[in-house]
Amino acid sequence: MLTYKFDWAIVTSGKYFDWIVSGFYVTIKLSMVSIALSFLLGLIIAIMRMSHLRPVRWFAHGYLEFFRNTPLLVQIFFWYFGSYKVLPAVANDWLVKQDFEFAAAVIALTIYTSAFIAEDIRSGVRSIPKEQMEAARSSGFSYIRSMQYIILPQAVRLTIPPLINQFLNLMKNSSLAMTIGVAELMYQARQVESYTFKGFEAFSAATLVYLALSFTITGLMTLYDKKVLQPLKGR
């Protein structure tokens, strides 16, 4: 029954190898851009979520509930198929000239992940003793600046382990971008498979690359944890 002939050469060299490599680059680019943006946006939403102004707090709360509780695939399709229908013509013209698939994927991944990151950061902030805020305020820092210099730097350090998880999820979730034609790793593996019928090799290669990426992200964050978090906890 086992008549399948393995042919690893197709994914280790030549044209199909190049496809996988180009998919790898797109995955990296998509993940890095979305990680950076989702962290920033998550930080902003977390701050809004803790604002003294009720409407701001409610807006952030609604944002969190909405984007955490709808499937990522729906959000990707929404930004790709839905958003341009309601955008003004100028914006559409501009978008068409950009890499629209890529942009839609970045937007969806960023917004989706930022909702989770915001909650992680908020619980990090809540675990900072209130005396830290008092000390900062008593030196004459405003609320925002106390957050900026004293509370958030500590909270973000404490948030590193959950953040690693969010970044890993984002990287893995980026494979969904293939559904709107972003030529990332999964998309290219699928291409290789449909041209060669060597699905096992193609998807094994993709799996290995995802694993390598995951280990790299975890490694980097752990290093950061060692260098930055440890002094905070005392040695």
């Binding site: 005396e131 305020r137 004459g140 820092f141 730097p153």
Partner: protein, 244 residues
């Protein structure tokens, strides 16, 4: 420098400050004592608006705290506050703990701020700890850094809320010494403390609080020799007894 006029404060139904009238002049050192829960912390925390007052008038360094338009952050920058639990910033080195506010609030350059910080560290006897993190220091050392942090802003007033109560006995002396030097340098200070030795040596006035009111207010020699209120007598007996 600091003037309370008929100040009241409630926490819900609890009347924590009841008709406080108090005037502290520039250069004066005032020690506040009294039983636990009598409102001492609340009293000094109103001075930099960590606890807003509900009624009456409170004027600090010419600024009226009962007025909405008073710039609280500006006022706070002029007042150093030392907490019982030190509250250093654990993610910053000792040096950065001290230079943060001068650089970000007073817009000092790093060089200026660090020079000042190093001079202050020398003054509190911790020059060699400039690059340590707070968690690597003993309680006494942390509190001395906290005092240096307060002084780095060139404050007009220094407030202390039981600065030695969280310390092991052998570390109390080093912190009190720094505070004594500061008192003798002419700083305006309000110190909530039960360190009667400190009160006797350097304070100009002792205030005894009970149930949110100032029961007694006298120079130290008078306060120790013949306290007027029974509550104060009782309190002194407790605090000065060898058991304590």
């Amino acid at each position: 420098m600091i003037r309370f006029e008929g100040v009241h404060k409630w926490f819900g139904k609890l009347h924590v400050l009841n008709n406080i009238n108090l005037h502290v002049r520039a250069g004066e050192v005032v020690v506040v004592c009294g039983p636990s829960g009598s409102g001492k912390s609340t009293l000094i925390r109103t001075i930099n608006d960590l606890e807003p007052i509900n009624e009456g008038k409170l004027i600090v360094d010419g600024m009226d705290l009962s007025e909405k338009k008073t710039d609280i952050n500006k006022l706070r920058a002029e007042i150093g506050f030392v907490f019982q639990q030190f509250n250093l910033y654990p993610h910053l080195s000792v040096l950065k703990n001290i230079t943060l506010a001068p650089m970000k609030i007073r817009n000092k350059t790093r060089k200026e701020a660090e020079e000042k910080a190093l001079a202050l560290l020398e003054r509190v006897g911790l020059s060699e700890k400039r690059d340590a993190y707070p968690t690597q220091l003993s309680g006494g050392q942390q509190q001395r850094v906290a005092i240096a942090r307060g002084l780095a802003m060139d404050p007009k007033i220094m407030l202390f809320d039981e600065p030695t109560s969280a310390l092991d006995p052998e570390m109390i002396g080093e912190v009190l010494q720094v505070m004594k030097d500061l008192a003798l340098s002419g700083m305006t200070m309000i110190v909530v403390s039960h360190e009667m030795g400190f009160a006797r040596e350097v304070s100009h006035r002792i205030i005894f609080m009970d149930f949110g009111t100032i029961l007694e207010e006298a120079p130290p020699e008078e306060f120790f020799k013949n306290p007027k209120h029974d509550r104060a007598k009782q309190f002194l007996k407790q605090i000065l007894s060898p058991m304590h």
